[in-house]
């Protein structure tokens, strides 16, 4: 029976090729537009560290009061607060963090120095964020305490500088000071880079590839290369900046379960209350503890363009489906006499259903296949709308391909439901009499 319905369907589709082609095109275009924007949305709204995103938290403490922030505290902390949280050791692991920009000076005086983005962190950061190591290991807690001149570098930097060889133990010249390399991280493609959102590309693109002890960076007066806010006056000079109410440090904590997160939230609240008691703050504690996904949401990492294009293309797909409903209705009802004859000869309503749904499915499948080609073209054009840093992450993949076909098939079947129902309701006697 199945084979017969397929045959019937194909014959019917061939009978009005223009109408069929139109339906296939409409489905293909609608699905391709939706899938392309969905692919971008997926990339930008994805979980960068799925195994741990619910255990990693960033702390926010309002140090400016109602005057300096509207509701939510600003996204960074003062050096003073970050240091206090680190010293309290209330979390399983914790690290202060701020982005830095370094200049790597080559041994050859005739070549220009090269820039690298990096992070001032503590050793806990590496196991916390599951940073994979190619060679060596993180520096020690003693290195943190002694603000040692050590660095961990990324694979790309290691490839550029040492041709990919094991560079552990070798030295690197940063602005005239030599640092010892203790580890080389492997490729680490988690995007968006949730702890480095203060770049033009908001956590995408080429990000930091060198890590140094937080205390060393502070001691060397390395300026933050992300954002900073100074809502209170402070005296000139780096030391005054560090010890002022200027905020530029993130504080990340690893809290393995809900209970420890609740306890930490309470700890932040108590810490802030203590600042109020000591006279530093003149407002009720205003603190936040956000996990990775909450943080990405708060910082609006998904570009407005991505959200808007998903919305518009979803609406587009719906309109295409309404269109397909109309076209299928026209197509099916034109064959009312044929349905009537089949019904009169004993075909059940179920048989009519099967026949027409199958016909619709073949249209959906064709639309899906054409949609795959259009989606592939669409992914190539993403660079025209979105930042290349994001566009480069979106490409045709097997899951995207299957999803495209599946969505095309499913949406066509949904669209076919009403026309098929109408077809199955054709009254044999009435139609036969009319003809």
């Amino acid at each position: 029976m199945f084979g017969y319905y397929v045959q019937l369907g194909l014959r019917s589709l061939r009978r009005n090729p223009v109408l069929t082609l139109l339906m296939v095109l409409v489905i293909a275009v609608g699905v391709a537009a939706s899938m392309t924007s969905y692919a971008v949305f997926r990339v930008t709204s994805g979980d960068p560290i799925p195994e741990k995103s619910s255990q990693l938290f960033i702390a926010q403490i309002d140090n400016y009061g109602p005057e300096g922030s509207d509701g939510d505290p600003l996204p960074w902390l003062t050096w003073r607060d970050a240091t206090a949280l680190v010293n309290a050791h209330k979390a399983k692991r914790q690290t202060p963090l701020y982005p830095i920009a370094v200049s790597i000076v080559p041994d050859d005086p005739n070549t220009m120095a090269s820039p690298a983005r990096g992070y001032a962190v503590q050793a806990d950061m590496f196991p916390m964020f599951d940073v994979p190591f190619l060679f060596g290991a993180p520096w020690s807690a003693a290195d943190d305490a002694g603000s040692a001149r050590v660095v961990v570098i990324g694979k790309n930097l290691n490839d550029r500088m040492f041709g990919g060889a094991n560079s552990v133990g070798r030295e690197i010249d940063l602005e005239g000071t030599r640092f010892r390399i203790v580890g080389v991280t492997d490729r680490w493609d988690s995007r968006p880079r949730f702890f480095d959102l203060d770049t033009r590309q908001k956590g995408f693109g080429d990000l930091g590839e060198i890590y140094m002890p937080f205390a060393r960076a502070i001691a060397d007066g390395r300026e933050p290369s992300g954002g900073n806010v100074c809502n209170r006056p402070s005296k000139p000079g780096w030391d005054n900046f560090v010890h002022s109410e200027c905020i530029f440090v993130s504080f990340w904590a690893e809290l393995p379960d809900a209970a420890s997160a609740t306890a930490y939230r309470q700890f932040l609240h108590d810490y802030s209350a203590e600042q109020t008691r000591s006279g530093r703050f003149s407002w009720a504690p205003n603190v936040r503890l956000r996990n990775v996904m909450e943080w990405l949401d708060f910082r609006k990492v998904v570009p407005a363009e991505a959200r808007m294009s998903v919305l518009v293309s979803a609406a587009f797909l719906v309109i295409c489906l309404v269109n397909v409903i109309g076209l299928l209705l026209a197509k099916f009802m034109r064959r009312a006499p044929e349905i009537a004859i089949r019904r009169a000869l004993g075909a059940s309503r179920g048989a009519i259903y099967a026949q027409f749904l199958l016909e619709a499915a073949s249209v959906g499948l064709a639309g899906g296949l054409l949609g795959v080609i259009l989606t592939a073209l669409g992914t190539l054009c993403i660079g025209a709308v979105f930042d290349p840093a994001i566009a480069n992450l979106v490409h045709m993949s097997l899951p995207l391909l299957s999803l495209t076909v599946l969505v095309a098939l499913a949406s066509t079947l949904v669209a076919a439901f009403y026309p098929t129902w109408r077809a199955s309701r054709v009254q044999p006697a009435w139609q036969l009499k009319a003809s």
């Binding site: 006056p233 409903i325 209705l329 009802m333 109408r422």
Partner: protein, 411 residues
């Protein structure tokens, strides 16, 4: 006068088809209006004038590798070399330039103790006396900075200098009576010193490109201070026609002077046209994408109308034949189908207006867009009505050619 009554009566026999067309028209109208509105807003953004001599400007992102004490001398040497370079009209070192994508922003107050800011996000350009000439900006009131006025911005210093130059827009915001020259306001924190406005320039856009900063897009303050940190941008104005050559010569000359520096690649050396391109990439991209979707949507809707109407014509050949036999002219049949479509599209369009405003209300919340103007909805409706008439024309013509003899045939 088209025969409305019989049309409406006949519509009752193909409710579902008519409803589907109306629904499609409604949804299309809602999406197209809002999309056009967004497109217009984005195009408006990217056609804003920066106020500087864009076609002759280039920017170099430079970072010196040197002890802090040597940085001012390094900067002075570089700037002097650049100004003397053949093809360079003028140059200066600064922290930021228009459309750079975010830089130092500060609140501005008339009263240093008040909570009220006249601008909450004015942008600070640290410059010397060559900046306005380099940018090609004229002082329309007051004067340019004198060379002896240029101070130094120490690390963690603040921009509250005694004399500043501001844009007309900021002047108006701070002093609505129009007399800003010679007056003072306070930049930054509570302990700020007063800054006297010594000059007003017509218009210079800020570095901010984020749409959340759009209200401050021309609140710029020029502060006469040299940077003393390790990084700076060189803004260079080429003599007419010399920009392409300078894009190569400038980095080479800087490298020849000293290799103890970093000029990042890519984006370390940019012609201003590239700066503009990068700043508005997503605006332009979104506008193109939405325009593409709108056009496709209109085509799809038109195709749907053609498809369904053709079906109706096929279904009603006999009835058309009877009407023709009873004396209806070809024109009557044509008008019948055009009117039928007009009525359906109008009903759909009216529903679409409601939908368009509903969608807009939601977008205002989700994307902070502004309220949809009625012009777009009216225009969109007109476009869709016309489109419907055009789409229905060919099947209606075919209907009008149905011969009266059709009435006598059984199928």
């Amino acid at each position: 006068m088209p025969p409305f009554r019989p049309i409406l009566a006949a519509l009752r026999y193909h409710k579902s088809g008519a409803l589907l067309i109306a629904l499609q028209v409604a949804l299309t109208l809602a999406v197209v209006c809002n999309a056009l509105f967004v497109i217009e807003h984005r195009l408006q953004r990217l056609s804003r004038d920066t106020g500087v001599a864009e076609s002759e400007l280039m920017v170099v992102n430079n970072k010196w590798v040197a002890p802090a004490a040597e940085l001012p001398a390094r900067q002075a040497a570089d700037v002097a070399m650049l100004r003397a370079l053949p093809g360079v009209a003028d140059a200066y070192a600064t922290n930021a330039f228009p459309l750079m994508g975010g830089a130092w922003q500060s609140g501005v107050r008339l009263d240093p103790t008040s909570q009220h800011y006249v601008s909450e996000g004015a942008s600070i350009y640290f410059v010397d006396d060559h900046a306005l000439n380099t940018l090609g900006v004229k002082v329309t009131e007051g004067r340019n900075f004198r060379s002896d006025e240029i101070g130094a911005l120490v690390p963690n210093g603040s921009p509250d200098t005694p004399s500043i130059i501001i844009t007309r827009a900021l002047a108006r915001r701070a002093f609505p009576d129009g007399h800003a020259l010679g007056k003072a306001f306070y930049i930054g924190n509570r302990d700020a010193r007063p800054s006297t406005i010594v000059g007003i320039v017509e218009h210079v856009q800020t570095p901010q490109t984020d749409s959340s900063d759009d209200i401050y897009w021309n609140d710029s303050i020029f502060v006469p201070m040299r940077l003393t940190g390790s990084g700076a941008f060189f803004v260079i104005r080429a003599q007419p026609g010399r920009l392409p050559a300078l894009l190569h010569n400038v980095p080479d000359a800087l490298k020849a002077l000293s290799t103890r520096r970093v000029i990042p690649a890519p984006h370390g050396v940019l012609a201003f046209s590239e700066v503009r391109d990068m700043a508005y990439r997503s605006d332009r991209g979104l506008a193109w994408m939405l325009a593409g979707i709108c056009v496709t949507l209109l085509v799809v809707t038109a195709a749907g109308i053609v498809g369904l109407t053709s079906f109706w014509v096929g279904q009603r050949r006999r009835q058309i034949g009877i009407r023709r036999a009873l004396g209806a002219t070809r024109r009557d049949i044509l008008v019948y189908f055009l009117t039928e479509n007009g009525l359906i599209s109008l009903a759909g369009g009216l529903a679409g207006v409601v939908l368009a405003f509903a969608l807009n209300a939601w977008m205002m919340k989700a994307f902070e867009t502004s309220r949809l103007s009625l012009l777009y909805v009216g225009g969109g409706m007109l476009i869709l009505l016309l489109l419907g008439q055009l789409a229905v024309l060919s099947p209606a013509r075919r209907a009008s050619r149905v011969p009266p003899v059709e009435a006598t045939r059984t199928i």
